[in-house]
Amino acid sequence: MKKSLFKFVAVLVLVFVCLALGGCGESRTPYAATYKSVEPFAGKGHVELELKENGEATWTHLGKTLKLKWRVSDGKIWLYTKEGGLLIVTPAEEGKILSADITGEWHPGCPPEQCVLFKRVETGG
């Protein structure tokens, strides 16, 4: 009985270690900062994108703030909406410039009409 309990606990630990490792991803530190869109978004007002070190992010436009989550994988920033929407953001110039593909899909180059360009304005999340 004790032996099977030990095996069960061992398997559970293995599962949660895998989950922890799977959930970690790459370090967020290089990109944790506040960014501002280069052009006004939707014709009025700039977007302020804040990437916090703890994986939370905010997208603020015209005084309205939207909460997002983010992680880094293969040098790209993956932004998640609560509904499961996904924005892939490509950093350039060591994270000083971000180009966000707002189609919700992955394109090798950010599509010009649906690409929001951000510039870092403040370091640290």
Binding site: V15, A42, H61, K69, I102
Partner: protein, 480 residues
Amino acid sequence: MEPKQPPPSGEDPGKLKLLEVGQEITVPPKTRIVSQGEAPQAFYVIQSGKVKVFRETADGIRTELTELGMGDYFGEVALVTGKPRTASVETVEETRLIEISKEEFDQVLDHNPQLARHIIRQLASWLVDGDQRLESEVVHQVKLRQISWFDYVLMVGLSIVFAIVFNLYNDNQIPLFYHPGGKDAVGEITLSQALELYRKNEAVFVDARKNSFFEQRHIKDALSLPVIFFDLMYPMFEFMAAQKGGAKDKPVIVYGGTPSRRFDLELARLLNKKGYEKVMVLAGDYQAWQNTFPLGEKPAKAPAALPLGLAGFIEWLPLSIFVLMLVPPIRRSPYLSVICRVLLGWIFIQFALSKIMRPAVFALNVVDYGMMPAWGVNLWALVLPWAELVVGLFLVLGIRTRAAATLIGAMNIIFIVGLVNAIHHNLPINCGCVGEAGEPVNWWKVTKNAGMLLMAIQIFLYDRIFVLDRGGFVWRERRI
């Protein structure tokens, strides 16, 4: 080889006679004295040291039968029956033996009925023990190959429990069931009425689906506002609607529902909350607009592939295994089953880990396939990754492997059906197999899944070693 000393007087006559013949030999450790299948030449009595007796099958499964020490003897079975050796004997440490030739052994038996009786008794007792061992082994093998409903209940039950509990504590939790809500709050408009408004340019048409679906086909001049990016994209929508002369009191017609999720209803309600007074959804069949309105179309374009890293490479392994399976002796090998188990388990664990943390993203991938009813999307998105993880672990650890292989095979069949359906309908979707984005659906994905299905079948049919199952752990070298 050393000359034999005559036995001291006053000893047992049987032993006396046996020790009077043969010659003494000393064998170094790890040396094979007798090989299974060879013609018998001699009988051996151990004077000091240790030997082990074992059998080996043609496919290399070794069964250790016993270990013998000082005073024990071996090699008599083949001499008595006149048939080839039934087992092999190897020294464990340096061993001193008396080697008695076949002729000498026959002579000893002729002149020593006491020893002959002893050997007959020994052989008879082995026969009885052998029968018992055979019976217990048959029972063990039968148990090993048994599958019960309990196995499936255990795996599916564990997956459901883990999925629900994990979702409770997950930062990215989603409701177990998706409620699109009733239609009461939102008005409907028939296709013909909508077409009339369209022709008169008196309404703004809004597509609620993902961008890739909109790009592929939409009502000409409609605006795209994917409901999953509503908060993010609403300002852009407002800007575009204003460009088109849309005002909040002008009719807004939303379309783009799917059997899996009522995007249109949800978007209509959200627009209503934003102050659009005349929001309506297209009534009837989800696809009917495609046959009624002029369309803006682009050729179907699969999403660009994003490198998947290690997971992407691992997915190719089933194809190599498939090639191995073309060779008949390998196809049936239990060692191939072990390789298949570890690989398939590893692949499914990878699949699971890519989805477990963010079920909302996976739920949208499920929606894209358009095959799941709305109520089942979230449940499937929560439970499937845990089922992949549980059966993957069961396969790697060798627990209930036949049942685990059946479940994996069933999942592969579901995946293949989904993929073929998506290819057949040119759906511009992400596979959602091991990546959240940039994983196009194509025939390679189908082939890889077919390879995995074959691996599951191989495990189901031939897996029997390195397993922890009913009747205990079965290792390569079984001690009976």
